[in-house]
């Protein structure tokens, strides 16, 4: 701790946050750390092959779930639509059917995507994922058929303009009859978040500027783009309507939970306000200023800065949010923000407690990766607040496989700074997943009125 002339005490964290900006601003953009730019100092490196080996391994699967019994027949109806759309075209296209190579490549890509999604809609582990793939198959197939119809002059801008009002009517009808009903407010929040997403998404897809429509005249791919937007609005509405009916139909006594969800949202937001104090108000130039301890800019310190900036952004996004309906979405979003805040505090405590969370070797990176994998599995298998954990975990796990790929792509030797930056992502995932079960339990208590 340091002390100013006026005798006021400042923690190291505060002093660094005040001074580091000015010092480091002069170096910003010049590339490389100061120590590495001094003559005779070679940057530390780690063997790329060893990194690749250390980060190889099974990645945990976290399926997307939704507490609604999605019938196989509903999934099949979308798959069937996808197939019938594809069958209405001569896809895959060759140079004779579509001589323009750019258009041909785009349509064949959409065709391949549709076929793959049709297959995935059979093999995915949960009903929600199977439905998601089936819907993707439908929209990708729609792109193919719409573009082909435009090429054949069977689809023009006026057709698209004429299709929009009917879809908009369907969105309005769903929104008019929808309300956040339920019995258990946690289950209801999870399900209605999905319906809200569908309603908001449908409105967004339909907000097609007239200039875009005019510009699409005579342009097959642009016409297909607009047609796909309209089709996405259709599917969002159809899925939202199905989920609502399916969920409400299973309730003995549907109760409107608007007040309960509103109270819970406000409670969770006030908790965010109370706990956001340790966050820096702005982006920190020197991440080590976040901890009250002398420590290098380790992977853990970088992760701390990342958690801080993500949490701050989430809080600011709440203040600037737009688009309705979003009550259930806000409840779950607030829970995710609280998870970030809990993760930030726990990682800061860990580092201040003496654990640098640093990487100096490939084995260190492997160990940090293992932490992330174990944290994901532990959260996935947690036996508390399962509904909330299942709803939020897929959004927090990041993509371990993608991080692994960053290490797999290296060759020769990799600078330690670069290794530390990539390893930081494992630390973020591990810390968030560890924080989730407790935060989900807290939010569940708030929703059920027991906390």
């Amino acid at each position: 701790m340091s002390r100013d002339a006026d005798g006021s005490a400042r923690t190291r964290r505060e002093v660094l946050s005040l001074s580091a900006t000015a010092v480091l601003a002069g170096l910003a953009g010049c590339g490389g750390r100061l120590s590495e730019r001094l003559p005779g100092r070679e940057p530390a490196t780690i063997d790329a092959a060893a990194l690749s080996e250390a980060t190889r391994g099974e990645t945990p699967t976290v399926p997307d779930t939704l507490p609604v019994d999605i019938e196989a027949s509903f999934v099949d109806s979308h798959r069937g639509l996808a197939r019938s759309k594809l069958d209405a075209t001569p896809a895959p296209f060759d140079e004779e059917t579509v001589p323009n190579g750019v258009i041909r490549e785009r349509l064949n890509d959409a065709y391949d995507h549709a076929l793959q999604s049709v297959r995935d809609a059979s093999g995915a582990p949960t009903g929600h994922e199977r439905l998601d793939h089936a819907v993707r198959a439908r929209t990708a197939a729609h792109e193919v058929v719409a573009a082909w119809d435009a090429i054949e002059s069977e689809l023009v801008v006026d057709d698209l303009r004429a299709a929009i009002p009917a879809v908009r009517d369907d969105v309005d009808a769903l929104e008019a009859r929808w309300s956040p009903v339920g019995a258990d407010p946690v289950r209801a929040a999870v399900v209605h978040r999905e319906i809200e997403r569908g309603l908001r998404g449908a409105r967004r897809w339909l907000s097609i500027p007239d200039g875009q429509l005019r510009a699409a005249t005579g342009q097959s791919l642009e016409l297909a783009d607009v047609a796909v937007d309209i089709e996405r609005a259709r599917t969002d509405t159809a899925v939202g309507s199905y989920l609502f009916d399916r969920f409400r139909g299973r309730l003995d006594e549907p109760t409107d939970l608007t007040d309960r969800l509103t109270t819970a949202r406000d409670d969770l937001r006030s908790r965010i306000d109370r706990r956001a104090d340790p966050l820096p108000s702005d982006r920190v130039e020197d991440p080590t200023s976040l901890v009250d301890r002398d420590v290098e800019t380790t992977a853990g310190v970088r992760a701390l800065a990342k958690l801080a900036s993500d949490a701050r952004r989430r809080i600011e996004d709440v203040a600037a949010d737009g688009g309705d309906p979003r009550l259930a979405s806000d409840v779950l979003s607030a829970t995710t923000t609280l998870t970030h805040l809990r993760a930030f505090e726990s990682l800061r405590d860990r580092i201040e407690g003496g654990d640098d969370v640093a990487v100096a070797s490939a084995d260190d990176v492997g160990a940090i990766r293992s932490e992330a994998v174990e944290a994901i599995e532990a959260a996935r298998d947690a036996d508390r607040a399962e509904l909330m954990v299942d709803a939020l975990l897929p959004g927090l796990t990041g993509n371990i496989g993608w991080i692994d790929d960053q290490f797999d792509r290296g060759s020769g030797s990799v600078r330690l700074e670069s290794v530390s930056t990539d390893a930081m992502r494992y630390v973020v995932v591990a810390t968030l997943c560890r924080a989730l079960p407790a935060t989900a339990t807290e939010a569940t208590g708030v929703l059920r009125g027991s906390e």
Binding site: P99, N100, G101, V102, I151, G211, T217, S220
Partner: protein, 220 residues
Amino acid sequence: MPSSTPRPTRRRLIRSAAALVGAGAVAGCGGTAESSGTAVSSPEADPPDDAVTDPASVVLRAPLDEPVLQEAGDGSDSDSDGESDPRAGEWRHNLVADAETAASMSVVDVDGAAEARRFLEETDFDAETVYVERHAVGECYDQRLCWVRWTDQRIETSYARVLRPAEAACSADVRVGVTHLIRLSAALDPDQISRFSSSGGSRPCRTPPGSEDGKPGDGS
């Protein structure tokens, strides 16, 4: 509005292609970037007030390595400067400012060649200048001139890249040279023109508000 300059008194053909792109100026912790060059921004904004959105122009397409305009006698191509700068393959520009130069130029035998020859012949170099600009464009795309504007020292263009029809046989991996001959209603002095810039994007050309009934302009 575009300015005019005194008529040039000598044969002028500037080869300024690689006068560009101050990318090399951006280095280290300081330095500035010269602004001449092709920009990656799209012509989504309305044209500037002093831009001309429908100048008389002719478009020629040819393989990327084939110069479409050649000056008789020296065998040099007039839509390039012949330099080895790789950026010159992307963007080349010249100015034809007098009848003698125009008459000495040959146009290779591609679609629109006859029209281009006529275009040069019919230009009144006492009051007009022909700006020749070539870009490398994907074979499956057209490049449409959205607007051009100029001063005594500077010429600036903006283009829209538009996908050709499905029935146009082309490869997604091949690029061609698209050369625009643009008639500017001013007798410019090439020696005074020091800056050239050009922007392009995939959105259609915008037209000035109220200039037409809301249709996207093609500018060509």
